[in-house]
Every structure is written in structure tokens, then in C-alpha cells.
């Protein structure tokens, strides 16, 4: 593994790790607040128990999210100094707002976790809500910074330097809205369904039915609603990619030749050597329609770009197929929920479906980030700076990668073990 690849692998791994915990940290507090609100209104002790159970989960996962987020702030400089030297001043603004929101979140979580019986119950509830709101805001800011890498704005690039820097224009670049909308809904969806899946499983095992039923209903309000909204947000993001990053779009679809009435290929494996797509099912004109709203429209293919500017086509295409496949499945699961939710929580097979879907939202998030990041290659700033020109000159990056690999795998194992212990303890308390 050369230094560039090692640096990219380290970044991918650190981000892929952090994104799970960040997603949980910015959405789970809302579920916790919903349970807490119900307790305060109805005084049903089961909701109190549920609030505290989720709170402990949030506390553990927030701690992991906070440290892995700190690591990323450092890694921007440790891995990509060539990027930060120019980008820092341009996209620092969303980062400084993100820092503020993150700070507020950290204060609020201290208040909420330790504040039981120390403040007015509704003020206490409000601190829990603040955890969610500030976490959600910090997610939007960070994604806005990433969107700038896809749709650079707010500067003039003259002889390898940024002039006329306008941080406001940089922050509100063309990709910030579709990307953050897509990501924030994905977080609600993935976390809602993951939590619902866990409680569905406990329910199927006959454990603490009252608690788990209430938990399932709250989690699914978030998970199912987000699943229904996501296809629209995803479509919005997709059309913006077609407009701003045609090479990424072509890689996503494995479209080697520019053509009108471009088909949408379901599945399939693109081969960049022979410039063909193997084993895909083609829906005629669909890609043209989805990308440009007209089945006859021309869609730019990879042939319009020099070979060295192609993103890795196979990875981008497959990751996109995984994401969209899961998104479609989860949208169906979401629709079914609104059908079943009127009478309890649905039949057993539906609960089993929820169990099976529990990890899928997170898988889709990871796949989506692969599409965004790999699909932008070889650029770190689309059309402006190549990733290889941004990497640190420090040699031996592969050891940096191995160190984080071991550290994060151990951390993931410890966190999973801790959460399982948590779930088992609560269920035991409720019998069954």
C-alpha cells in the first residue's frame, strides 16, 4: 500500500467509523425526548425506564462519536495538509459553526445525563432536546463542508492559489442543500430502523412486551417517516450530481458512452477496460428521465472525460446499487408500517422483517458515502485539486492506517459488547 492509498484508507475508515456514531448522536436524542415527553405527560413509568435506557445508549455512543470526531478534525491536517492549506480559509465557516453546535451539544448532554431531579422536569427535557437539535445542526454544517468539495464555490483558483475568498458563498454551495437533506434523513432513517429492529427482536423473543412495544412505536415514527421521504431527497441529490459532477454520475450508472435516451441499469458490473456493462437489467430512457426530467435527454458518459479523470467505476456503481436497493426496500417497509401501525405493531413476519432490516440503514449510509467520496476521485476538490496533491508528505502512512484499524476495531467491539450488556440488563429487570 503506498502512502496515498494508506492515507485514503485511513480517512475512509475514520469517516466510516465516525459516521455511524455521529448519525446516532444526532438522531437518537430525539427518540429519547419523545419517550421522555410521554413520561412527563402520562406519568407512565415504562416510558421513564425507556428514556433512561436510551439515554445510557446515547451516553456511550456520544462518547465514541465525540472522540472519533476529534480525530477527524486532526486528520484533516495529518492526512491532507495540501487540501487544508487552501480549503481551511474557504470552508472554515461551516466548521466553526459546527464546532459551536458540537460544544452546545456537549454541554447539553452533561445537563441531561446528570440533571435528573436537579432542575425543573421540563427544563431537563429541554436540555435533552437541545442535545438533538445541536447535534442535528452540527451534522448539517459538516455535510455542507463536504458538499463544497463536490461543488466548489466562493473563490477564484488562480495559479494554484485561492483568491477572492467568499466563505458565505462557499458554505452555501450548490450541493449543500441536497446533500445535507439526504444525509440527515438517512441518519433518522438508519437509526430509527436500527432501534426498531432491536426492539422488534426483543418483542419476538417475548421480552418485556410493554416496554418494547412502546419503544418500537416511537422508533418507527422516525424510521418509517424518513424512509418515505428519502426517495425524494435522494432523487433531488441525484439530479444535482448529474448537473454538477457528470463524471460521478456516469460512474454511478456505468455509462461509458454519452447518449440520449440513456437507460437506467439495475444491478450489473461495469468493466472500465472493455467499457461495457455486464449482466445489468436496462430500463430504457429511465436515466435520462431521472437525471434531466426528459426520457430523450442526453446524459454525459465517461467518454467525455480523459481516462485519468475517471472515478473507480465499479466501486461507485456497486455502492450506488446497494444504497438505492436498500432505500427502495426500506421505503416499502415504511409504507407497510403506516398500514400496520393502526392496529398494534403488525404481524410476526413484519417484526422479523424489521429485525432483518435493522442494520440495512447504516449499510446504505456507508454505501452512500462511498458513492460521494469514491465517485469524486481523482479529485479532492472537484475539478480543482487532485487527491494525490493534497496528501501529507509524511512517509510510512501505512502504519498510521494499521494503528487506527486496530484501535477502531477494538473500540467497535467494546462498544457493541457494552450495548449488549445494557440491553440484557434492562430486559432482565422487566422479566421474560
Amino acid at each position: 500500500m503506498d502512502d496515498l492509498l494508506a492515507a485514503r484508507a485511513t480517512m475512509a475508515f475514520s469517516l466510516g467509523f465516525h459516521i455511524v456514531f455521529a448519525s446516532i448522536g444526532m438522531t437518537m436524542p430525539f427518540m429519547m425526548c419523545a419517550a421522555h415527553w410521554r413520561y412527563l405527560r402520562k406519568k407512565d413509568p415504562v416510558y421513564l425506564e425507556l428514556t433512561k435506557m436510551w439515554m445510557k445508549g446515547v451516553a456511550i455512543l456520544f462518547a465514541v462519536g465525540a472522540v472519533s470526531g476529534t480525530v477527524l478534525a486532526f486528520e484533516l491536517g495529518l492526512l491532507w495538509p495540501g487540501f487544508m492549506k487552501h480549503a481551511g480559509a474557504i470552508i472554515g465557516m461551516p466548521f466553526s459553526w459546527e464546532g459551536t453546535a458540537f460544544f452546545l451539544e456537549a454541554i447539553a448532554i452533561g445537563l441531561f445525563l446528570y440533571g435528573w431531579n436537579r432542575m425543573h422536569p421540563w427544563v431537563h427535557w429541554g436540555t435533552g432536546l437541545l442535545v438533538g437539535v445541536s447535534g442535528f445542526a452540527s451534522g448539517i454544517f459538516v455535510v455542507a463542508a463536504n458538499a463544497w468539495m463536490n461543488a466548489p464555490a466562493g473563490f477564484d483558483w488562480v495559479d494554484g492559489a485561492a483568491l477572492n475568498v467568499d466563505p458565505v458563498a462557499a458554505m452555501f454551495n450548490r450541493a449543500w442543500l441536497p446533500q445535507s437533506l439526504h444525509m440527515q434523513i438517512a441518519a433518522l432513517q438508519a437509526v430509527g430502523l436500527a432501534v426498531a429492529g432491536i426492539h422488534a427482536w426483543l418483542l419476538l423473543r417475548g421480552k418485556a412486551p410493554d416496554l418494547n412495544r412502546k419503544a418500537l412505536r416511537i422508533a418507527m415514527v422516525f424510521g418509517a417517516t424518513a424512509s418515505l421521504l428519502q426517495p425524494f431527497a435522494g432523487h433531488f441529490a441525484g439530479t444535482r450530481v448529474a448537473e454538477l459532477q457528470p463524471a460521478k454520475m456516469a460512474a454511478i450508472e456505468g455509462l461509458f458512452e454519452t447518449r440520449s435516451r440513456a437507460p437506467l441499469t439495475l444491478g450489473g458490473l461495469p468493466d472500465p477496460e472493455t467499457r461495457t456493462m455486464k449482466w445489468g437489467v436496462e430500463v430504457p430512457g429511465m436515466l435520462s428521465f431521472l437525471a434531466h426530467g426528459d426520457p430523450a435527454a442526453e446524459v454525459i458518459g465517461l467518454d467525455r472525460f480523459p481516462r485519468e479523470d475517471w472515478p473507480p467505476v465499479l466501486i461507485t456503481h456497486v455502492a450506488f446499487q446497494i444504497m438505492v436497493g436498500i432505500g427502495t426496500l426500506l421505503a416499502i417497509v415504511g409504507v407497510l408500517w403506516f398500514w400496520f401501525a393502526r392496529r398494534g405493531e403488525g404481524p410476526r413476519w413484519y417484526l422479523w422483517t424489521l429485525v432483518a432490516c435493522a442494520p440495512l440503514g447504516m449499510v446504505a449510509i456507508e454505501a452512500g458515502w462511498v458513492v460521494t467520496e469514491v465517485g469524486r476521485q481523482p479529485w479532492i476538490i472537484q475539478g480543482i485539486m487532485r487527491t494525490k496533491d493534497a496528501v501529507t508528505p509524511v512517509p510510512g502512512m501505512v502504519y498510521h492506517f494499521y494503528l487506527f484499524l486496530v484501535l477502531y476495531l477494538a473500540l467497535a467491539a467494546a462498544t457493541t459488547w457494552l450495548l449488549l450488556r445494557q440491553i440484557r440488563t434492562v430486559q432482565k429487570k422487566f422479566g421474560g
Binding site: 472522540v67 472554515g92 466553526s96 464546532g99 452546545l104 452533561g110 467568499d166 462498544t415
Partner: protein, 340 residues
């Protein structure tokens, strides 16, 4: 505008040393043998540090964000030359961040795992504060060389040597001292109170000794601290004030004015990095090819202006909530509380 941002960096760093320092120190104190007091001590530390744990660490993130937004050249220079120490620092930050939270939130509180968490928390606190000192000391040695091609000269020499290590030891002692003074006011148990008091005395002596060690070690540097101090008499005054405050501090401790004692100890320990900064101001980093000042490294004015706005608006949110946090947990009894 640069001055305003330098002020924010300085203020965040001082708050990180003073507020975050005491939770680093708490970990270091937990490494020391405590005999039968071990569990009671852990309880006090959990209660004292838990509510402010996450917030204490945000100061460091704030410093990083201000640096890479406002002064990208400083950020990248440091992150390249000090890649190794930064990596070491991150490992420490990860381990202690999770060890402390896991210890508190593990659903099954059993002897064996609790010991592992405590041990990890303590060791990583010691490790991280050592590297923080090493990194701080490396900034102004004049060895960082962005043009160096040789591995040793480019990536090891900047932080290698007795002087950075001695600063690491000083930081560790400062943190443990701050924690001991802080914990003195956190317990009503007379035995534990006496233990923290004794630890405060020990670490007070160690801070002075480590300070002396830093002075001695600096004799081997390009510019020794003695020379640097002689050149800027204002620093002498700052250091003299820091030393004199020990007298005030111990007077307050013996009078059991724990809140005031904390403030004095915090002020005293803040004077040390402040005095150190004054030695080199307005330069941020001293490289082999000359100083890199905040002014030289500053981002375009539009960026600086917006960064200041973000920091000022952010402060309007952060400081009241932080004050509320401290009021709820640290000034108990003054709050018209509800419930039990």
C-alpha cells in the same frame, strides 16, 4: 482582527488547561495507589467530572478549528512536522474519552471491568498530558523545518529531546495538582479530604521541581529559557506572580475556602502557559527558517471576519449554557431545586 482570534485561541487553550486539566489530573491521581479509598475516590471523581466531561474537551476542538480556518499555514506546518506526537495524542484522547464514559455507563458494575476502565483512563490521561506538553514545547524550538527531506530532521528532531519531555512532565504535574485542589472541595469525607490535600501538597512540590527541570533542560536548546526570560522582563513578573500565588492558595486551602482556592489555582496554572506565550509573541511557531507569526499565516480578511462573528455568536450561546451547567452541578444549594 488577528489579535481577536489569537485572544480566542489563547482563551480556549487556557480554559482547556484549567477545566480539562483537572479531569486529566483526576485520571493521573487514580493511577496512584489508594488502598481502601479507591472506590470512594472513583465515586467522587465520577460525580465531579461526569457532567462537565464532554464540554471540557470542546476547547481543544475549538482551538483546532480556529487554527485551520484562520491560520491554515500554522495548522498544516504543525500537523506535518509533529505528525508522530499528534498521532500519540489522538490515541490518548480516544482511549480516555471512552474509558471514562464506559466506566460510568457500563450496565454491569463489576470489579474486574471497572478496574480495567480505571487503569485505561489513568494511563491514557498520563500519556495524553505528556504529549500535550511535548507538542507545546516543540512549537518554539526553531527545529521544525518544512524544507527538510531527511526523515529524522523533518519528523523526529522537532519534538525529540530532554526539553520537550520535561515540559510534558511539567504539564502532567500541573494537571495532577489542579485535580487535587479541585477534588479537595468535592468531598465531605474527612479521610478522602485529607488524601486530596496531601496529594495537592505533593504535586505542588512536583510542579515547582518540574518547572526547575524545564529550565535546566532548556539550557541545551538553541535559546535557553533563562536567556529568553532575561530578554523580556514582563515574563519575569508573570512567573513571579505565579509563584507568589502559591502562598495565597495555601492560605485559602487551610481556611477551607475551596471555591476561591480553585480560582486561584486555576489562575496560577493559567499564568504558566500565558507567560510562555508572552516569551514568543507574536510568533506562533518558530521554524528552522525563521518565525511563523499569526499575522503571516492569517487567512483572507473575509474569512477572519466571519470566523470572529461565529466565535462571538457562539460564545453568546456557549457561555450562558456553560455557566448554567456549572451552576446546576457545582454550586449546589444555591438553586431552588425541585424533587429529591
Amino acid at each position: 482582527m488577528v489579535e481577536i482570534l489569537v485572544f480566542f485561541i489563547g482563551a480556549s487553550l487556557l480554559l482547556y488547561v484549567v477545566l480539562g486539566g483537572s479531569d486529566f489530573g483526576a485520571g493521573i491521581i487514580e493511577l496512584l495507589p489508594a488502598g481502601p479509598l479507591r472506590d470512594a475516590q472513583k465515586e467522587v471523581i465520577n460525580r465531579a467530572m461526569g457532567p462537565v466531561w464532554e464540554a471540557n474537551h470542546m476547547w481543544l476542538i475549538l482551538v483546532v478549528v480556529i487554527l485551520f480556518t484562520g491560520f491554515p499555514a500554522i495548522f498544516t506546518t504543525v500537523m506535518i512536522a509533529l505528525h508522530g506526537p499528534m498521532l500519540a495524542l489522538l490515541v490518548g484522547i480516544i482511549v480516555r474519552g471512552v474509558a471514562f464514559s464506559f466506566r460510568h455507563y457500563d450496565a454491569v458494575q463489576e470489579e474486574r471491568t471497572q478496574r480495567i476502565y480505571t487503569w485505561l483512563f489513568g494511563l491514557s490521561s498520563l500519556w495524553t498530558s505528556l504529549w500535550l506538553g511535548i507538542i507545546a514545547a516543540s512549537l518554539n524550538r526553531g527545529i521544525i523545518d518544512p524544507t527538510a527531506r531527511d526523515f529524522w530532521a523533518a519528523y523526529v528532531a522537532p519534538w525529540w529531546g530532554l526539553y520537550p519531555l520535561s515540559v510534558g512532565v511539567l504539564v502532567t504535574c500541573i494537571y495532577a495538582f489542579l485535580a487535587a485542589i479541585y477534588l479537595v472541595g468535592e468531598t465531605k469525607d474527612p479521610v478522602l479530604h485529607r488524601r486530596f490535600l496531601r496529594l495537592a501538597i505533593v504535586f505542588n512540590v512536583l510542579v515547582i521541581l518540574a518547572g526547575g527541570l524545564v529550565f535546566l533542560a532548556s539550557l541545551g536548546e538553541q535559546q535557553s529559557l533563562a536567556v529568553a526570560f532575561a530578554r523580556r522582563p514582563l515574563n519575569m513578573a508573570v512567573m513571579a506572580l505565579a509563584t507568589l500565588l502559591f502562598v495565597v492558595l495555601w492560605f485559602l486551602v487551610t481556611k477551607r475556602r475551596s471555591l476561591l482556592a480553585r480560582v486561584v489555582a486555576a489562575g496560577q496554572m493559567a499564568l504558566i502557559p500565558f507567560g510562555w506565550y508572552l516569551l514568543y509573541a507574536p510568533d506562533a511557531v518558530l521554524t528552522a527558517s525563521g518565525p511563523l507569526s499569526f499575522q503571516d499565516a492569517a487567512a483572507p480578511p473575509a474569512t477572519l471576519r466571519l470566523l470572529i462573528i461565529a466565535l462571538v455568536v457562539g460564545s453568546l450561546f456557549i457561555f450562558p449554557s456553560l455557566f448554567y451547567l456549572l451552576r446546576v452541578f457545582k454550586l449546589r444549594g444555591t438553586l431552588p431545586g425541585r424533587g429529591s
